[in-house]
Structure formats: C-alpha cells, structure tokens
Point group: C2
Chain length 576, copies 2
C-alpha cells in the first residue's frame, strides 16, 4: 500500500490570517473581545469574540455572494477591497474577512490629498469601497473620478439605512450582514496569496502601492510577539493574554503597525477609539481598564493639555509608548508627571517593511544601567527587528565600520519585506539591488549594533565634501525645552554648496531668542560631542507653523518651494 | 527598466535554523552563552556566544571539507549525521552545524536496545557517527553491524587524542575543529530542506523514522515562544531574555522538546548538565543561577531524596516543570515543600509532532480560581498548542461531542506535524487519513476544549461493549499516597472479554493492602464520578518493579508476555 501524504496539512501547512482570527473565538468565545467607542456620540458597542467572529463570517459570505468578490492566487491578486474607515469593529472585521476569502484589503489613507486618494483607488483598481458615514461628503466629491473603477459601495454607520446620495449602487453594511449565515468554511489558501495593499505617503511624487501576502503578515506578527516576549527593557513591555490594548494608530497606516494581527492572535480584548481624542482616550482607559497603548507626540501633547485628565482613573495603564516622531524633552517631562505608565520608545519602519524594521530597546546587560545612560541608548533608532537582516552600507555596497560615525544607507531584507511596488517595475528596480531593499535612509551604526538614522538620502544637506544629517539636528533641537518642533533644510551657499537653515516652532509664550537656541546647540551638541561645529545652522527662523505631510512628517518639499519666505523670517546667526 | 525582484530575500525569505543560531552571537557575542558541567568530573566549560558560534562554524567547515558531508534539497535529504551524545556544548554545536550546511542531524536515542540502535543507524544510513567517549564500548560492540553504513567516526571527549580501538577511520572532534576557519558563509537553503531525523521509541515493532525540515523547526520554535509569552498561567512561565534554562531533557528525545531551538533564538544562557544527576542539578542551579528547567517524575524523586539538597542555594529557580508522566501526589507534596519554584505541568507530544501538540494551561479567566479548581484543569492533558489544529474524532471521522465523556481518537495537523515516516509508506498510510494525522491516542474533550487522554488505542481494555481507559486508571491510582507507580492491562475473561488487572509498585515501607487500594479507588474514583464502578480492577498485583521502555513508559508488551507471572502475584479483589 502506497501512503498518500498531506504536505498541505503538515510541512507545507499554510501560514494564513485565518489562524490568527480563529484563536480567540476558540479560546474565549463568550468574553468581550472587541470594544468600540464612537468618538462623536460617546456610545459604546461591545462584542464577544463569538459575536465578532460571526459578524466577520457574515461579512465574508456577503462579499462572496452579494458583492461578487473573487479570490486570488499567488500569481494573480484577488479583487481589491478598499476601505475608508476609522478604527472600529467593522474595520477590524474587514481586516480579516477580505484577506481570508482571498481578496486584497486596501485600507485607504484618508489623510492623503484628494488627488492622491483618487490615484490610490484607481491604481489599486478597488472593485468595492467600504466607507464610514463621516466620509460620505468626501466620497461624493471624488465620485465621478473613481466611478469607472469602483463597481459597488458599502456605507458603514451605527444607525440603519443609506442616506440620499448620488453614489450607486450603494449597500448598507449591517443590512448586508443580516442576510448571511454566521458560519463559514474558510478556504485553505496558498500562503503566498496577497492579503493587503498599502500605499506609501509619497513625500515625492505619487503614492506607491505595496502588496503583502498572508505569509508575510503572519510571520511579522509572530516575530513581533517574540521580540516583546523576550524584552527585558521595561519600555518594551511583555504582551501577554492579560494585556488590554487600545489601538490609536489608524488601521490605514501600514496594518496599524501590526497590532490588529498580533493582538487578535493573542486573544487580547481590543479597544477601538474610532479616532484619537483626549476625552475618548481617558474614557476608554477608565472604562475598559486599558493596559497598553501607543501614541504619536501630537496625541501626547493633546493629552497633557487636556484639562479634565485628572478626573479619570488611568491607573490600569502599564505602558504608553510614544513613537512616530522625536519627542520634545519638555513634553516628555510633563507626560511623566501626569500620566501613569508613560514611557517613550522609538522605532523605525516604512510601508515597504510592513512596517517592523528597527526598534529601540535596551539589551539585557543594560537592565541595571542608570537612567541617563539608558536614555543615550533609547535616543538611537535601535536594533534590527527579530527575524530580519539590517545593515548600513556605503556607496560600494560594503558595510560601514561600526564606529557610530561613518554614515551609509540602511538596507534590509527578511520574510515580510515587500517584494515589489505594485505595477511599478521602475521604482522597484531603484530600491532592490544586490539582494537588499534600499530604504533611502542614511544612518550610522555603533559597536553594539545600534543604528541611528541621521537623514533621508535626499534630505541630507551637502556642505563642502561633508553631509549634514538633518534628523540628528532636529532631534537635538527638540531637546531644548522652549522648542516645540524643529526641522532643517539646506540653503544654497556660494562657498559650501549648502548651509543649514533651522525652522523652529517655539513653545507658546517662550521668550528665548535665536541666539539662545544657538547657545543651546553649542552646549548640548558640540560640547557633548553629538555634532561638530560646522553642523551648526547659519540661519534660524522662528515660525508659528511648520508644513507637514498627511502623516505628520515635516514637508521638506513645501518648505523648499517656499524657501525665500522662510529665509526672510530667519536671523543669520553665524557664518561657516 | 524592468525591475528584478528578490522573492528569496522578501516574501519567500526562507525560515532557516541559521537565523536562530545567529541571533545570540549578533546581540551578545561576549556574554557566556553555553555552560557545560561534566557529570563525571564535575568540571565546568564555559563559552561566550562568539566562542560557541565560532566552534560551530569550525565544525561545519570540517563537515564539508574533512568529512565530505553533502547538502540536501527538499526532494533529496542531505547526508545523515548520527550523534550518540549527552547534553553538552558539542551536541548543541552539532544541532546547528549539521542542519545549517544542509545535512540531516540524527540524534540517536542511546536508551534504545542495541538491536534498535543498530536498526536506526542502518535505516537512517548515517554516513558519519559522532559519539561521546563514554559510548566507546557500545560503539565497539555494534561496530561490525554498522560498519557497512557508517563511513567515518568522530570521537568526542574533553581530553585530547583518540584511544586504541578497532573503529576506523576515527577522528577526534577537537582536532578536526582546530584546523578549520572560525567563520562561515552559511548557505541560503530552501526552507523545505530536511534538518533532522528522529526515531520513535517503538513500543511495538521497530522504531520508525521521521524527518523534519528547517521550516518546521523554525515555526515550532516561534509558536512555542508565542504560547509561553501569552500565558497568564504561573505554571507556564513567561520566557524572556533573562531566563537561564537548564536542559535536562536529552537532546536525543525529539529535539530536546524544542528547547535547543527556542532558547538559542532568545539568546538565553543555556546550561547543560551532560545527563541528570541530583548533585549536578543542584551545583548548576547554584553556580549558574538557573531560573527554569524541566524534569520527569523520576528525576524529581531523585532530587527529593537527595540528602545534600539543603546544602545548595536553589533560590534562583523560578520554575521547574514536571512532565512526561503522571506525577504521584505524595511526590508532588514533598517537592513543593523542599524545592523553590516547583510547579507541575503536563503536556503531550510524540516524535511525529516534533513534539509540541497539546499542553495543560489555565485560561485567562481562571487566573483567580482557587487552587483546587485549577488542579482539576491541570490534570487534563490540555489545549492544542498555538498554531496547530487538534480534534478528537469518532470511528466515522466526526468530532466527538464536547461532553468530557465520549471518547475518540486524537487527530492533529499543522506546520510542524510530520509528513511521512521515512522510507515507510505503509506505516504512513496507517496514520494519515482524510487530511489528519491520527495519533493512536484515545481521549475525551470538555466544553472548554480541554482534552484528556484516556489511553493508547491499542492499550484500551475492552470489557463487554465498553472500553476501560487505562491511563485514567493509572493516574487515579498514582494519586494514592502509598502508591509509587501503577499500570493496568486487560486479563482475558470468559464473560466480558477482558477485565482490568492493576500492577502496582507501593511506596517503600507502605503497609496498605490491595483492599485498601480498592477502597481508595472507590472513594476517590467512583464516588467522585471520575470512573464508573465497572472500571474497577478485578485483580491487583503488588510488585517491586514494573517493566518500562527506554523512555520510561510502562512496557505493556513485556507485561502481556509475562501476564501469567503477574497474575500469580495478584489478589482477586472483586468480580465484575
């Protein structure tokens, strides 16, 4: 008798998102699994894992039967399902229903410009668009431009019924679900089936699309879990089944930084605030006993300034990580005073890396180091994420010496790094060279392997034969307690090629002058060996507002377009 | 310009053991990573991660150049490398060097009978045999029978030089390493390349071989890490980078239960005792500040009885798990009194499952349950391991009702379940049916998903139309504090077909009688609803020794062969 074998159920058992989705319903069917607080009405909706899972089954059945969504293969991506939605239970249902039937979830970044939103929908060829009631006016505005692409629209709201609109055909999300069975035999897809499509925010040119497979997202989740499990750094808390996370990072930002995958797999109750508001944040922490969350500095500033903060019981908080941008020292100190469980962490990732790439964490032997020594480690960008290879290379492709000084480009490869830009072989060829994905970020690396990003390749200020790393200057400047935000660009210089201009937004009411800032940079930067004297800015411009991109990064394109205007406000401080 | 892509460095980046091996040397090159205490001399050897890694590179280079080991592909396994070795640094070097150059590591179970050892070496076609100095007489004994298969022998000892022996050609491990470079460019193998070959212990017939791929072992390690990370059960401790484990489970038992993979990946200092001795255990805990370890009940009994136990500082221990066999209540109580960090856990796995399959752990909502309620959960076999599917099915292949009563066979499938028995399609066809691996173990399942194994399919006692589950009876009997060990077999019966005979080894000096045991079973079993009256044994035989297999399981084949002898010692207690 010849034995038939089942590689697809053994050594080739596929790594699929359905495995993540099915764990909580199998372990904790009757526990509350998903909580949504509508940020406008303050109303709560709570779902047990069974209820959430059954809704996800109904949604998947509706996608297949009522909406005609087709599954894909590794060679041919399934139909694209666009979403324009806040962080709520429906968006989390879409996060699993679409990929688990073999379709591709395209969570549209609603903070892009209208032109870019239209571009991503048409470039992705979104067949269906799921959108929140709040976004109706926006969808109506772009309707004529996306109508040739989008065949069906689904309206999502807590209340019933679809409003009067020119958009058609339009369905109501809850009505669609009602008609469907609450069970589903999820297919055993090939693990290389595409699951998601994300677009870069495109500080230059048009947004670029990146597809990720089930395998990629599954492996990213598992490796993030391993990393947080191993950490002996209190700033990277161990995430166990008892963790109650709140997801403030939008689900349309590169997989919500992975949280919807690893938190569902570990069966944590997931708290969804729609969008961040100080009131919603405090109310949810108090009511749901949130233990962990992450915010960007702007959200933290809003929290610190929230006058009702002390009225809430925030004692359940174990860890609030801050990431996404440099954290000003003044804000950090204020937050530490006011908010229990506050810690600052930093990390680095991009759409192309899904996004886990580099994270700041202290090594085991640093456990007992004094805080000031640890802080020197924490301001670095960090160590490679578990499971990926990261290096910093020079222009010949050789690793730079680990001297924390020589700079090169960060390159990366690993199981969840993107293979290609969607329908864009030219851009793909620019970033994949010699078996490494080239990030376009410039960094140095120290003897212990800690990487510090100093700039984007294209933002580096070229002064003489040297490169002035602007991110380093920005972070240093933000350390001044009278500075709220700061960025640097190059100004044409007849001798040096370029010289640095600092554009600075001071703390409201601050009385310090441009000269005071220069003194600070000399004392904290030059004298402490963080920068050299020739990196000091020749010009400093104080301003009320620094232009930013949709994801809150300094918009250097716009700044450079309006360079004359900033220069006219600037004071010349010194001459190189 | 068309972009070349690199799927092998992105979405198909292979899951290889080299990724696990390289993490500690990259993070902690100068920390002590591997500690070995020779159990006979008491001498310590300590290696930094860099030293251990460089030795592993040298070994791999020697395998390729001096020993001519060839790499494999997914279709054609690489050369088999046999080991007969205790738990020491060299064995851990072999664990990585052989698979990472594409060869297949066959860690030979030295506790098998000589005939079975010879069979596994010849069946595996081991091209090279690495063996410990201690095993020299054994290898000389079987030399003529394995000589046609094994081309080269490598002798491993702390001292230099190879002794006088008829074995040839023979090399000395340390001499081989000396000649080689300490660096290595590890190949990017296909993740489906075979990495290990394990043999079952074969309670019936000959040992069967099972091969596992890099992907399978990598994924098992990651999922075990996730499970221990999530656990809120204090008996399943969180394993972080600060964990210091001692590996008492032999490395030739199904990958040492996975520990050499996940502990290396998490860069824990690994403490290796050679083989278990109470003195070595205590000395290593005290010297190396061991936090976690696992033992089988026999080792625990040796520890509890070790007269010098109290002379050692064992305060670093956080968790000693006990698994592998039922834990007698008397031993449990004594261990809790004497040994800090003692907890009892149970688990279930087999060679074919690599071995992670089912583990006892308390769910999140049981955290605050009283100990007696929790203990009821802990005596169950447990819940499916994270990442695999497990079910209990009846003879028609349907899942049994979750009533904790109806029994069926355990079936399993998932990423690290074996695909086939090596060179044995007939046996493979017996276990793989309808897309499920059939374990041959009989179990029931409760409403919360907890599985309880009641027997091996072939060990069930068939009495009338019913099946008497012997494991259930064995565990119940072991709860009596005057019982050290107990097993059950069926005795032919003219009316019922079979009736149970209990074979019991009492605690030394115990004065209780067979009738006392029967009263205990009635009070603790029948009256508490754990067993029904007709499951009570008709015969009880007290004995000094119960036959066991090489891995410590009750050897029912031998018992059944000598049934008359046991029956002659037995007292008839009742008549069904």
């Amino acid at each position: 008798m010849e034995g038939k074998t089942y590689p697809e159920f053994s050594r080739r058992y596929p790594l699929l998102l359905k495995t993540l989705m099915k764990r909580p319903v199998s372990l904790y069917p009757d526990e509350i699994g998903v909580v949504y607080r509508n940020p406008d009405t303050g109303q709560y909706q709570r779902f047990t894992w069974r209820e959430w899972y059954e809704r996800t089954c109904r949604l998947a059945n509706a996608m297949e039967s009522s909406l005609g969504i087709r599954s894909g293969t590794p060679d041919e991506p399934g139909d694209r399902v666009g979403t324009m939605a806040l962080n709520h239970h429906r968006h989390l249902e879409l996060y699993y229903a679409a990929p688990c039937i073999g379709a591709v979830l395209h969570a549209i970044n609603m903070r892009l410009s209208l032109d870019h939103i239209v571009h991503t929908i048409n470039h992705a060829e979104d067949k269906i668009l799921f959108f929140d009631d709040l976004v109706l006016p926006l969808v109506e505005t772009i309707y004529d431009r996306i109508k040739p692409t989008v065949e069906k629209f689904v309206y999502m709201s807590d209340g019933g019924g679809v409003p009067q609109t020119k958009i058609e055909p339009i369905y109501h999300y809850e009505e669609l679900l009602k008609e469907q069975p609450s069970e589903k035999e999820w297919p055993f897809l090939d693990e290389d089936t595409h699951a998601t499509l994300c677009y870069t925010t495109a500080t230059t040119g048009l947004p670029k699309g990146v597809m990720f497979t089930h395998r990629q997202l599954y492996l990213q989740a598992l490796h993030i879990i391993a990393r947080t499990s191993w950490s002996t750094d209190p700033a990277i808390p161990h995430l166990g089944e008892a963790t109650i996370p709140m997801l403030n990072t939008p689900l349309y930002h590169v997989h919500g930084w992975g949280a919807p995958h690893y938190y569902v797999f570990q069966a944590s109750k997931i708290v969804l605030p729609g969008r961040f508001t100080p009131e919603g944040f405090c109310d949810l922490v108090q009511t749901e006993k949130v233990t962990n969350t992450g915010v960007v500095p702007t959200m933290l500033a809003m929290l610190v300034e929230y006058e009702d903060l002390k009225k809430y019981d925030l004692s359940s908080l174990r860890n609030i990580g801050v990431g996404g941008a440099a954290l000003p020292l003044g804000l950090k100190n204020k937050a530490e005073e006011l908010i229990p469980g506050f810690t600052a962490t930093s990390g680095y990732g991009m759409t192309e890396t899904a996004p886990a790439a580099i994270g700041a964490f202290a090594k085991r032997y640093m456990r007992d180091w004094p805080k000031e020594e640890l802080d020197k480690i924490r301001v670095k960008t960090g160590l490679p994420a578990v499971g990926v290879e990261v290096d910093v290379i020079d222009e010949d492709g050789k690793p730079v010496p680990r001297d924390d000084e020589t700079i090169g480009e960060i390159v990366i490869r690993g199981p969840w790094i993107m293979e290609r830009y969607y329908k864009d072989p030219e851009k793909t060829a620019e970033v994949w060279k010699d078996g490494w994905f080239h990030t376009g970020d410039v960094a140095k690396i120290d003897a212990q392997g800690y990487i510090t990003i100093v700039d984007r390749v294209r933002d580096v200020i070229r002064s003489g034969a040297e490169m002035v790393p602007t991110v380093l200057l920005e972070n240093l400047t933000a350390m001044a307690d009278f500075v709220l935000e700061a960025t640097y660009v190059g100004v044409p210089d007849p001798i040096w090629g370029e010289r640095p201009l600092a554009i600075v937004k001071p703390v409201p009411g601050a009385t310090e002058s441009e000269e005071d800032l220069c003194k600070f940079l000399e004392a904290e930067g030059v004298e402490k060996g963080k920068i050299t004297k020739w990196m000091l800015p020749d010009f400093i411009a104080f301003t009320d507002e620094i232009p930013k991109t949709s994801v809150g990064k300094y918009d250097k394109i716009t700044i450079k377009k309006n360079l004359e205007e900033f220069l006219s406000k600037a004071k010349r401080i010194r001459q190189a």
